[in-house]
């Protein structure tokens, strides 16, 4: 251990005993193939500030850590000295049901927060895989999305205030406690989705929604993606269009519903409704009536806990220990290009496409879950089917050509070293680099992990 690190250790130990985890914990906090030499678990915002002051003075590179559920997102760090686990900052600071706002520490898990809100009939419309472990700070930093993104939008849309500690240990706030606010610049937006590269989020304030009275899911099978897409697009045009609508191929479906599909070409349409019961009853009725007129089979309706379970499974697909994906690519695109994208994926002769023509007789091994209303999707590889960097780059080039993007979310390190996980530099990259320079001039926080190596 370098001398500088030893002095850092002794300072931290003196002022905040117990904050430094034993050295044997470090391997549990690996990011890609890098293991930190130090893991700290601060109990207070002040400790976060002190730790960052010390680490910046000692030129230590720091990665913030929430529940670790999305820690694979990002390029490999340029350097990793300290992981800062924020899971002890897990309090609800203030919850005002009548104001429909809540203020929390960043380390609280989403499930724990929802549990707190539930007693007062309120709800925070955020979603994240493994919400039992995923923390608010992590969800904001990674800009996590779930099956209801079409209705809930991005996490930034519910965020009204933040407290952030800068890389030099200085506490700042943005926004406030009120639901409408144009006082000063909206830095909440800047920190959301910034992967902890601008500062460490320690507190967040959200506006809330009433807890939905009910959830329903309608499942329908189609002989191919063309029919499934047509049905989905038909539903999206209706006044009763669903809050979430996903096309699921047989590979993803087999994992999701725990059964093999009769026909590997089969596609499932997963239609989600949430809200007040009477409205949902009508939506489900009209949806099933419409689907019955189409080439569908295995039409089924689910509500209550079963529906919630399907939504949760869709959210967790490829993230749990038993079905953890080998590689996951999240794609974004304008919804009108859905047919072209699905067609490209079908025709593509590589390991990214659905039909693996390098082994044309095989069934699809790559799961496709496409949100046709929002314009996004996940390509989930459960095993190393031989996918190469070039395959991913061709997919990305295609998506870029239609105004979309491909973010490689889970990825083995050998591929990460060949492919930038975010894609090529966007038009505003100069501004983004200057933002990083202005906020974190010594590149203390998550160096190299964000877009363009920021």
């Amino acid at each position: 251990m370098p001398e500088s690190n030893r002095s850092l250790l002794s300072t931290i130990n003196q002022t905040s005993p117990g904050v430094i985890l034993p050295p044997e914990s470090c391997f549990q906090y690996k990011i890609d193939d890098l293991q930190p030499s130090l893991v700290v678990k601060p109990n207070t915002t002040q400790e976060v500030s002190n730790l960052l002051k010390w680490s910046s003075a000692e030129s230590q590179k720091v990665s913030p850590w929430g529940g670790g559920t999305q820690i694979d997102l990002g390029n490999p760090p340029d350097q990793l000295d300290m992981v800062m686990d924020l899971s002890k900052l897990s309090d609800v600071i203030s919850f005002q049901p009548a104001d429909l706002t809540v203020s929390v520490q960043a380390g609280i898990t989403l499930d724990n927060l929802q549990h707190n809100l539930e007693s007062a009939g309120k709800f925070l419309p955020l979603e994240a895989p493994l919400s039992n472990d995923a923390t608010i700070g992590g969800i904001l930093s990674a800009s996590s999305l779930g099956p209801l993104r079409r209705t809930y939008g991005l996490p930034r849309d519910w965020l009204i205030g933040l407290k952030v500690i800068s890389s030099e240990g200085i506490e700042t706030k943005s926004g406030g406690q009120v639901v409408k606010n144009v006082t000063g610049y909206d830095l909440n937006k800047l920190y959301s989705g910034s992967l902890g590269t601008l500062g460490v989020i320690v507190e967040a304030v959200f506006k809330l929604a009433p807890k939905p009275a009910n959830h329903s899911v309608v499942l329908a099978s189609f002989p191919s993606q063309v029919e499934a897409l047509k049905a989905g697009q038909h539903l999206l045009q209706q006044i009763y269009s669903p809050q979430g609508l996903h096309l699921v191929n047989s590979s993803a479906g087999a994992h999701l519903f725990n059964k093999q599909f009769r026909d590997p070409k089969e596609y499932k349409l997963v239609t989600i409704f949430t809200g007040r019961s009477k409205a949902i009853t009508r939506c489900v009725q009209e949806t099933t009536n419409l689907l019955k007129t189409l080439e569908t089979s295995d039409l089924s309706e689910h509500s209550g806990a079963v529906a919630v379970g399907i939504i949760r499974d869709l959210n967790n697909l490829g993230y749990t220990e038993i079905d953890r994906s080998f590689l996951r690519v999240n794609i974004n695109f304008p919804p009108s290009f859905c047919a072209q994208i699905m067609d490209w994926l079908k025709r593509d002769s590589t390991y990214v496409g659905e039909t693996n023509q390098r082994n044309p007789n095989s069934e699809p091994t790559i799961g496709h879950v496409i949100d046709i209303g929002f314009g996004s999707g996940s390509l989930i590889f459960w095993d190393d089917s031989g996918v190469q960097a070039n395959d991913l780059l061709r997919l990305r080039t295609f998506l870029n050509s239609i105004g979309g993007s491909a973010i490689i979310e889970q990825c083995p390190i050998y591929l990460k070293k060949e492919v930038d996980i975010w894609g090529h530099d966007p038009s505003g990259i100069g501004i983004m680099r200057d933002l990083k320079n202005n906020f974190d001039p010594y590149r203390t926080l998550n160096p190299g992990r964000f877009i363009s190596g920021i």
Binding site: R156, G176, L190, A279, S336, S376
Partner: protein, 481 residues
Amino acid sequence: MKLEDSRKKRFIERLRSILGEENVISHPDDLLVYEYDGSVDQSIPEVVALPTSTDQVSQILALAHQERVPVAGRGSGTGLSGGAIAPPGGMQVVFTKMNHILNIDTENHTATVEPGVINLDLDNQARKLGMRYAPDPSSQKACSLGGNIAENAGGPHCLAYGTTTNHVLAMEVVLENGSIVQIGGPSRFVPGYDLRGAFIGSEGTFGIATEITVRLLPLPELVKTFLGVFPDIESACSAVSAIIGHGIVPAALEMIDSTTIKAVQSVMDAGYPEDAGAVLLVELEGLVEEVEEIDTEVQASLWETGAVDVKIAEAAEDREKLWLGRKTAFGSFGAIAPNYYLVDGVVPRTKLVEVLRLVGRLSERYGITIANVFHAGDGNLHPCMLFDEREPGISDKVMQAASELMEYCASVGGTLSGEHGIGLEKKEFMPLIFSAEDMKAMKQTRDAFAPNNNLNPGKIFPDGSSQSLNPHRDTSPGLYI
């Protein structure tokens, strides 16, 4: 500071060569038109430029950057915090000639527009295709999308649908040095820092948007508007708490107090009872089943909190009539007093009663009539202080009352501005909300977009140069809150 004559002459000549003779205004009489926006601030620009393309905006910004001539963008000039007021010695870039709707995409539910497009014009075009543009500032008949971006404009229906920032997908922006940058994109999620989110509401200090892509929403199946008539403003406030507390977030929830009711009814019949203490406008939207279910709960909340009458409108023309009084309220204040000063503070919704009591006390203490017409559902107040500039010492009293009100908002966890922006008007109050370090982070953000601070300099941040209340600003129709 003013531009020296020779420098100014050369600058204007170069502007003319870029924009053409007809698109540069420099005669002092013509410039007077551009002296004001909707706020109390004023400043005559040195020159006004009327570009017709992004390329022209890029060229004139590069020129201004090179010549160190500060720049302010201006859409329709309806803003209420001085955002469009030219900086001293500055150029105003006015977007009235960039007012085309470039595309409405019915498949992706988006529209791409130039910054000078009027908010309501876009909404009307979208409605013809079964969609709408949700943010609806009260000034929507006049305000521009570019101005909406700069101020992150709100409006009554932002309660349910969010403000401008929730509806913009992509922008082409010109930075202070003339470079053109695309921020956001046609997909809902774009990798990288959210420059679009940071840009919206930056009050014209980060850059100038020259092309804007917004999301359009489908039209609801059913809309119902309720007018709850209350004996006093406190019972109307409890109705707001009851509705929100029951887990209902209506599409809009607007409060109109007795002073405003009288002013409105004196210029038109909006159907508001003149003896009412306050009226509450509640709008519900959605599927028929959803609206019908909430309808019962809203009516119950209104009656239980002391409403003396509840009117319900479903047909578009009946609903519009109920809204007409709300939308023209500001303009009707001329019937009470010739001058106004408006506060845009926000409080947590549960503090509405307390803050309105304070407004009443301030009105009594300083002898100023204060009308309240505001976005109650968001906790966004609009106390409008009405006075006659000819009364000696009144301006100081108005400023004192406004300061006390903003201090109170800050003390209960609220903020200075909900939708009008800080601009020139409220910049000295910023330390009530933000520490020096908070503001430093904001300036670091601005420096990434505009390191020379040549766009709208002197706004948002305190510098001790805040303008005192200009006593010549008149209440008149054509003003909106």
